[in-house]
């Protein structure tokens, strides 16, 4: 109605100016552009020194290992990676990495830090808008509590420099995700990864049908899941047609719908689909659905049965975000096997180690170590530690649409770097220092380089090693 009112006013203007020609249609009003980034990132990198790490074993995140490696970074960026011959720029801080390892920062594509924070009270549980099965209108960033103490543990013990925070999986359409730098800030905007695309959390399987079925609502079954998801995409297609036309030709502005805005973004390829899906047969259904409506599934999350259809996933170019050894905690995880990650990798598909857990996020390197060892024992060829690091940084960066910015130690990328006090594929190893955009955010030897959230100030154990 409002749009109609505006058009009416425009007609009146034409009449007054006396330029209206009897036969000619009034020129439609030019389209109003909708701000696609109304909660923009305010993240700014912190200052860091020009730094050279020498004599370390380096995994570059692209599958290469450099022994006696050298890494140079400054001005927030990777400057150079090489062997001992690489010269140090003037004025650089030199770190002896003998016996230590250097890697890209770990990227977790599946976290609920901030939207299911510690302490896990009901009052802080903000991860599932479980009031209707399709809630693409909610944005995880609006639930993120930046004071979640979990962020600091992921940094200090896990070497996690970037993470995607997703809505929960109660809904078929859970809402938008947000990708953040693991740098403490007063606001969620202050953590948002500049330039990272949005993700859409979708879910198949047990959770939506349990949550709504138990209330006597649709979906109560897996077929209900699929039907409702398809029906929603049909609406989204119509919405997209309407808005595409408006943006092309102007005229009456169609009514805006926040939920449909997000789905239109997916259909336009601007928002990446992160689909919670355990079972192989359900993934196949979701793949067909993506073809039916013309969108791309970026990553299947918790994909415990990816090994059964790894060939299909490779062909479709879909990543699988997986645990090393979780199984059986519900029926759809009953067929979890320890070789899932290496089998998916071996099929030529994109494998990612993810956490979905504020404890697990502190040990993703150890989870990769288990998966790597299980793969080697099962006879998967061409596996190495350097290859396995691809599962921890390169592939997750690809899945989040930020591979051009981070995820590997390539010159010009963000200097998101971890110096480990030993081989990170060992349980005996911990991060010694972590840099994000070249700024030293954690140093095991310097208690002043240890973030303490507001929540922990004045509490027992404030500033303790964690």
């Amino acid at each position: 109605m409002k749009a109609g009112g505006i058009a009416g006013a425009a007609l009146a203007l034409f009449a007054l100016s006396g330029c209206a020609v009897m036969e000619a249609k009034p020129k439609p009003a030019p389209p109003i552009r909708i701000n696609e980034d109304p909660y923009p990132s305010t993240y700014q990198r912190y200052p860091g020194a020009l730094t050279v790490i020498r004599h370390a074993t380096v995994f570059d995140g692209e599958g290469r290992q450099v022994n006696d490696g050298t890494l140079v970074f400054g001005d927030g960026q990777i400057v150079a990676i090489g062997g001992p011959e690489l010269a140090s720029p003037a004025g650089a801080v030199e770190i002896d990495g003998t016996g230590k390892y250097v890697t890209p920062g770990i990227i977790d594509v599946h976290s609920h830090l901030g939207d299911y924070p510690s302490p896990g009270t009901q009052s802080l549980s903000d991860g599932n808008e479980a009031t209707a099965p399709a809630r693409p209108e909610v944005w995880a960033e609006h639930s993120v509590w930046p004071q979640d103490p979990g962020f600091s543990r992921a940094l200090m013990n896990g070497g996690v420099t970037t993470l995607q925070i997703l809505p929960g999986s109660a809904n078929l359409f859970g809402g938008r995700s947000v990708t953040v730098k693991n740098v403490p800030a007063r606001t969620a905007q202050g953590m948002k990864f500049p330039g990272a695309p949005y993700g859409l959390k979708m879910a198949c399987g047990e959770n939506p049908k349990r949550v709504y079925g138990s209330k006597g609502n649709m979906p109560q079954t897996r077929m209900g899941n699929i039907a409702l998801t398809r029906a929603t995409w049909i609406k989204a297609q119509a919405y997209k047609r309407k808005w595409d036309k408006y943006e092309r030709a102007g005229g009456d502005m169609p009514e805006r719908d926040l939920a449909m805005d997000t789905l239109r973004g997916v259909l336009a390829g601007k928002i990446l689909v992160h689909n919670h899906c355990y079972r192989a047969d359900e993934m196949a259904n979701m793949i067909d659905m993506s073809h039916e409506f013309g969108y791309k599934i970026n990553t299947f999350h918790h994909a415990v049965e990816s090994y059964k259809i790894a060939d299909i996933l490779a062909r479709e170019g879909i990543c699988s975000a997986m645990w090393a050894d979780w199984y059986g905690f519900k029926m759809e995880s009953y067929d979890g096997i320890k070789e899932n990650i290496p089998f998916v990798h071996n099929a030529g598909a994109c494998a990612i180690v993810h956490s979905d857990d504020p404890n697990g996020i502190q040990r993703l390197n150890q989870e990769a170590a288990k998966a790597l060892a299980d793969g080697i024992r099962a006879g998967v060829p061409n596996l190495s530690e350097a290859t396995a690091w691809v599962w921890l940084s390169r592939n997750p960066a690809y899945a989040l649409g930020i591979l051009d910015k981070t995820g590997t130690l390539k010159a010009g990328k963000m200097a998101d770097v971890v110096l480990w006090n030993g081989n990170p594929f060992s349980d005996y190893t911990r991060p010694e220092r972590v840099w994000i955009d070249g700024a030293l955010m954690y140093d095991a030897n310097d208690p002043t380089r240890r973030p303490v959230s507001d929540f922990e100030l004045g509490q027992p154990g404030e500033g303790d090693v964690k």
């Binding site: 510690s118 302490p119 896990g120 009270t121 103490p149 979990g150 543990r153 013990n157 047990e206 349990r210 090994y307 059964k308 790894a310 060939d311 050894d325 979780w326 199984y327 059986g328 905690f329 519900k330 029926m331 009953y334 067929d335 096997i337 320890k338 089998f343 099929a347 504020p358 404890n359 502190q362 040990r363 150890q366 989870e367 170590a369 288990k370 790597l372 060892a373 299980d374 024992r377 099962a378 006879g379 006090n421 030993g422 594929f425 060992s426 349980d427 005996y428 190893t429 911990r430 095991a444 030897n445 208690p447 929540f455 922990e456 509490q459 027992p460 154990g461 303790d464 090693v465 964690k466």
Partner: protein, 461 residues
């Protein structure tokens, strides 16, 4: 009879051979008693028990020799606090999860009938070197969950090592919630329950005492198995001022008398101190603390009380207000203060991921190299997942180490067992070599190669 036949069939199917004499030679041997690993050791298993272990052990002439050169040999891992065998699938799989009960009984609940020796979770953990576990029920409507057992993970139908070994009670946040909303409510419920157990003793009629004589102390009801006690007999009397069922009260008599361990889950420092003070009121209680995330802040007092702790190894989040001081250094700091600490899976995939204990133990070793943190030595870390949990419930003389006479629970590992990347290659329980195949390994083999063949995947076995 049917049971025996079934067991025999299962044994035949799973094919573990009967206990024989084994000599495992050439491996790096760790005893599990806190000592450091020894290269080139030999472990001899005879008649289902450890005969000898260490360097310079003679190989008996009749022994089947297993070369473990390049491998590591340790006692089997003991799940410190678990719900192993109680649940096949944890969520939305009706009937497959027996971890807790909302029925009328609490302390009387005995976890034994719920343990399924054929649970896939038992097989998965066996295949990863877990050979025994403390198995506790979870609370339903009462702060008392019931009586836990110690089980083995052997591929046979006899899983119970020690039935009704301990009673489990919640006295922290969870207990407060169950009791009606406050810790005070939980504590008064607890005291009342022990009072009812004590009264039960007083009211129970001694069977052969003559009228008028003082009952002989020796004839007081000794409740070995609460289900078969004379306090439940036709002559038993009772006060009317009671909250517990007679069954539940009877089950607490052994706790009161100190003949059954009392495992108490608390996390907050003040809750720990409240539990320690119970010992003053009820001196016979054999308390074991479970959880104790803030234990390090009162470690000296736990040590002085001589109360062992089964802790979460790497809890470091203020996940609730009872764990604000949580740190991965908790275990190391309690240990340095002289507390007997072992590692359990408290509220952490306790039905199925017991195999993570060795990874967690490795993480405690890692803390030795983190400035300001408190870790533990390798030998101590292994002890925390083998002998220490056994000792916490008085079974240290039977399981959890490679000392002579202990049960023949031995694992040969591909490498250092505290590295998650190492795998159990051979597992012995009571001296019987165990099958390591699981639902998971079968799926792995079925889907190892995906190209289409002449028949569907369902025909690949």
């Amino acid at each position: 009879m049917i049971r025996r036949v079934l067991a025999a069939l299962l044994l035949a199917a799973a094919a573990p051979v009967a206990a024989q004499t084994y000599a495992i030679t050439g491996g790096t041997v760790a005893l599990g008693d806190g000592s450091e690993p020894m290269p080139g050791g030999t472990v001899v298993i005879r008649d289902g028990r450890i005969a000898a272990a260490g360097p310079g052990v003679r190989v008996p002439a009749d022994a089947q020799v297993i070369d473990a050169t390049g491998k590591w040999v340790t006692p089997g891992i003991v799940g410190g606090f678990t719900r192993l065998g109680l649940s096949e699938v944890d969520l939305s799989a009706d009937g497959s999860n027996d971890t807790s009960s909302n029925g009328p009984f609490s302390a009387a609940i005995d976890v034994v009938p719920s343990v399924n020796p054929l649970a896939s979770t038992i097989a998965v953990n066996r295949a990863d070197g877990v050979t025994r576990a403390l198995v506790a029920p979870a609370t339903g409507k009462n702060i008392f969950a019931g009586q836990g057992a110690v089980i083995d993970t052997g591929a046979d139908m006899d899983a119970i090592t020690a039935a009704r070994r301990f009673q489990f009670v919640e006295l922290g946040e969870s207990g407060a919630d169950t009791a009606g909303g406050s810790r005070s409510a939980a504590h008064v419920l607890f005291r009342n329950a022990l009072r009812e157990a004590a009264e039960l003793r007083r009211f129970a009629a001694p069977i052969s005492a003559s009228r008028g004589e003082l009952p002989d102390e020796r004839e007081r009801p000794i409740i070995r198995d609460p289900n078969e006690s004379r306090v439940l007999g036709p002559n038993a009397r009772r006060s009317e001022d009671v909250l517990l069922t007679r069954f539940d009260a009877a089950a607490l008599v052994p706790v009161l008398q100190g003949r059954q361990y009392l495992l108490v889950h608390v996390e907050r420092a003040s809750d720990i101190l409240q539990v320690l003070s119970l010992k003053r009121e009820f001196p016979s209680l054999k308390i074991v603390l479970v959880g104790a995330s803030e234990g390090w802040t009162v470690a000296d007092r736990i040590a002085r009380a001589g109360v062992p702790v089964i802790a979460s190894a790497v809890n470091d989040l203020p996940a609730s207000f009872e764990q604000l001081a949580a740190t991965q250094s908790n275990v190391g700091r309690m240990r340095s203060a002289g507390v007997e600490v072992s590692i359990g899976m408290i509220d952490n995939d306790d039905t199925r991921n017991i195999f993570n204990q060795r990874q967690y133990a490795g993480n405690l070793v890692a803390l030795q190299r983190v400035p300001g943190a408190a870790g533990v030595s390798w030998g101590e870390a292994l002890a925390m997942i083998t002998s220490r949990p056994a000792q916490a419930v008085g079974l240290g003389g039977d399981i959890g180490s490679l000392a002579p006479g202990r049960r023949g629970d031995v694992v040969i590992w591909s490498g250092d067992p505290l590295e998650g990347s190492s795998a159990a290659e051979q597992v012995f329980i009571d001296g019987v070599r165990q099958p390591l195949e699981t639902h998971q390994t079968r799926l792995r083999d079925r889907y190892r190669h995906l190209p289409r063949r002449d028949l569907p995947e369902a025909y690949r076995r």
